[in-house]
């Protein structure tokens, strides 16, 4: 006998059953790797990002994939910790042949950059819009599916300069790498546009109570207050205390604090909050946005702004892969990035309201939206603004 006991036989047949029940992964699949935060402080974003990427990949695969090759997302949770993201990167890239990768933070993007350069086989994008990453020389294999943080505040300033020339502005930033990112660029750009930054308020990352900061805001009496480096807290408290004090200032934010379902939970106090968004909202019924119709068909319930970010990132990843393969070139970091940079006047199916070009590492386009508490929706407050130089 071969020494196979009945128990071994059962175990073998069980594992065979499990193996055959897994979705078949073909050898020529194009695999997008992902270090995605599904738990931890950034989980709300990671969950949306994953859903958005999966949906775009599903649409693409149903339409035949890329030159007949299916696209697949291989990802793991990172808890938004750089060391975990790196571990996931190492694991996934050793399991599959990966040429496209989604990273979850600025810290990870910077940490892994040397490895991307060394490998030369991967192009990466991710959840970070850090200004520092928008440098094709220092980060040749990376890009971001939207404007960098300085470009975001630049878009806000363009809007302010048009609405109220010479306006007084207060900048409120969290004391994190994320929060401090655009401060210098915002001040410089405000000066160029004839706007006056009258106060800078920095809040510690764990800040909950902002009473002292509101007192500073009252002293400065700004026309506009720009927040950056937050998702939600402490913005509602700032706004409700400012309202109690009768301050007239308009509050603005950047991409990660612009999700409308999060503001819907705040209620009346959220009314009038403005900010910059690179993408259209889920419920936008603009005639030139067939991709939004498709998303609503697939998912009848509201999808978050991180969902749109993931969706567009997957679209750009696969567009770059398609262009590379069509040119008969090998899938690697340099060729994929060159293909991405060849994107000009590209129609995103209405995810972004204007045709986009990606000459560098970012897409410096956005639109100002204002939250309408009665409709529980973000409504457009401007046309699409490009800060492309």
């Amino acid at each position: 006998m071969f020494g196979i006991t009945r128990r071994t036989l059962i175990a073998l047949s069980a594992s065979a059953a499990i193996a055959t029940s897994l979705p078949a992964a073909a050898a020529d699949d194009i695999v997008i790797g992902g270090s995605i935060p599904l738990t931890g402080v950034f989980a709300f974003a990671g969950i949306g990002i994953e859903a958005g990427m999966q949906d775009y990949i599903k649409i693409l695969n149903e339409a035949g994939g890329i030159q007949g090759r299916k696209v697949r997302l291989a990802y793991e949770d990172t808890g938004y910790k750089v060391d975990a993201s790196v571990a996931v990167f190492n694991k996934l890239t050793s399991q599959d042949e990966i040429h496209l990768y989604y990273g979850d933070s600025t810290g990870f993007a910077k940490t892994i950059n040397g490895e991307l350069d060394r490998l030369g086989s991967i192009m990466m994008a991710g959840a970070s819009f850090a200004t520092e990453l928008n440098d094709p020389k220092a980060f040749p294999h990376q890009f971001m599916a939207g404007p960098d943080y300085s470009e975001m505040t630049g878009i806000l300033l363009e809007y302010i300069a048009k609405e109220k020339p010479g306006a007084k502005i207060v900048l409120v930033n969290s004391d994190t790498e994320f929060g401090r990112d655009p401060i210098a660029a915002t001040k410089a750009r405000a000066g160029e546009l004839g706007l006056e930054v009258v106060e800078e308020i920095i809040t510690p990352p764990t800040a909950v109570d902002v009473s002292t900061e509101v007192l500073k805001l009252r002293r400065a009496r700004p026309d506009y207050t720009i927040f950056h480096g937050y998702v939600l807290a402490p913005l509602p408290e700032f706004m409700s205390q400012a309202k109690q004090l009768g301050l007239e200032t308009k509050f603005m934010g950047t991409f990660w604090s612009m999700d409308s379902s999060i503001w819907a939970k705040v209620g009346e106090a959220a009314d009038g909050f403005m900010g910059v968004m690179p993408y259209r909202y889920y419920y936008d019924e603009a005639g030139d946005a067939p991709m939004l119709d498709r998303i609503r068909e697939m998912r009848p319930e509201y999808q978050s702004t991180p969902y749109m970010q993931g969706f567009l990132t997957a679209m750009l990843f696969t567009e770059a892969a398609k262009r590379t393969l069509e040119a008969g070139k090998e899938l690697n970091g340099t060729n994929l990035k060159a293909a991405l940079n060849s994107i000009e006047n590209f129609d995103t199916g209405g995810i972004i309201g204007v045709p986009i070009s990606i000459p560098g590492n970012s897409i410096p386009v956005g639109r100002i939206y204002r939250y309408d508490a009665s409709a529980q929706k973000m409504q457009p407050a401007s046309d699409w603004i490009s800060v492309q130089e």
Partner: protein, 293 residues
């Protein structure tokens, strides 16, 4: 606006946020005082309190006067379960092991909250009103003023209970000498349970106050770390120390944040912690002999 008025407003805001710290610190103190366990999951108990209030007030639509006691009771119930299920079997074990159990408990609570309520940050239903409070000419945020009053009342009640109530005296006796307390007929395991119930209930209550100011999210438990500084400065086993430590740190943070800049808040707080530990390693009001971890 005069500089003096501005200074007064900043000071009042500092005292208010200090009171919130003091209330959270009280949860550490109550449990440590009776059981000699540093419960690092206090931050997560606080978060759970915020979510329980959210569930009762927003989910079931209960009015605040019913939802708040239910959230506090829910926190106490979880405290009782944790004490009976996790902490009591660890009696007599190395304090580090118990300490590690509370760290694990914190992670479990975060995971459970993420599973039940998801990961989005949320705002709590407003229940404190919006009319601003003025003391003389000085503006105080209404929520912070309420938090201050609540913290002051709760701490005063605890100070009184420890001084005069039999249960409070039993708790102090247990803290001083467990064997002697046993021999006097004190139900020591009962005291342990009581301390966890009351401590976790207090943390849950602080969570409701904190959540009504800053909203709730699974990550809001980090606030517990700021309160840990308070108890280390004030003394791990001193209720009065939690109050004084909380107010002092609240004030220093407010002044540093206003006059030096927000980036100096934490530097100043932790700088103060180092100085306090060098001068009085057992805290301003703590018992001289304390365990070091």
């Amino acid at each position: 606006m005069s500089d003096l008025l501005f200074f007064t407003e900043v000071t009042l805001a500092g005292l208010g946020s200090g009171a919130l710290l003091a209330l959270t610190a009280l949860a550490f103190v109550l449990i440590y005082k009776a059981t000699r366990v540093i419960n690092l999951a206090v931050g997560e108990m606080l978060m759970l309190g915020g979510y329980l209030f959210f569930a009762f007030a927003a989910g079931l639509g209960l009015p605040a006067f019913a939802a708040i006691p239910l959230a506090v009771a829910g926190g106490g119930l979880v405290g009782a379960i944790v004490e009976r299920g996790l902490i009591r079997p660890m009696l007599g074990e190395n304090p580090i092991s118990v300490f590690m159990v509370t760290i694990g408990l914190g992670s479990v609570l975060v995971g459970l909250v993420e599973l039940v309520w998801g990961t989005d940050p949320r705002a709590l239903p407003a229940f404190m009103g919006t009319t601003p409070v003025f003391i003389g000419e000085a503006y105080v945020s209404r929520k912070i003023a309420i938090a201050f009053v609540v913290a002051a009342v709760v701490i005063a009640v605890f100070l009184t209970l420890f001084r005069f109530w039999r249960g409070g005296v039993a708790l102090r006796a247990t803290a001083t000498d467990q064997a002697a307390a046993y021999s006097c007929g004190i139900n020591v395991p009962g005291v342990f349970s009581l301390a966890w119930i009351v401590g976790c209930g207090t943390a849950a209550g602080a969570g409701v106050l904190l959540g009504s100011i800053g909203g709730i999210s699974p990550a809001m438990g980090v606030f517990g770390l700021s309160a840990l500084v308070v108890v280390i400065v004030g003394g791990l086993d001193s209720v009065a120390g939690a109050l004084v430590g909380g107010l002092v740190i609240g004030l220093i943070e407010a002044w540093a944040g206003t006059y030096l800049g927000g980036e100096y808040k934490l530097v100043t707080t932790f700088g103060l912690l180092l100085v306090a530990l060098m001068i009085r390693p057992y805290g301003l009001f703590g018992t001289t002999e304390i365990e070091r971890l």
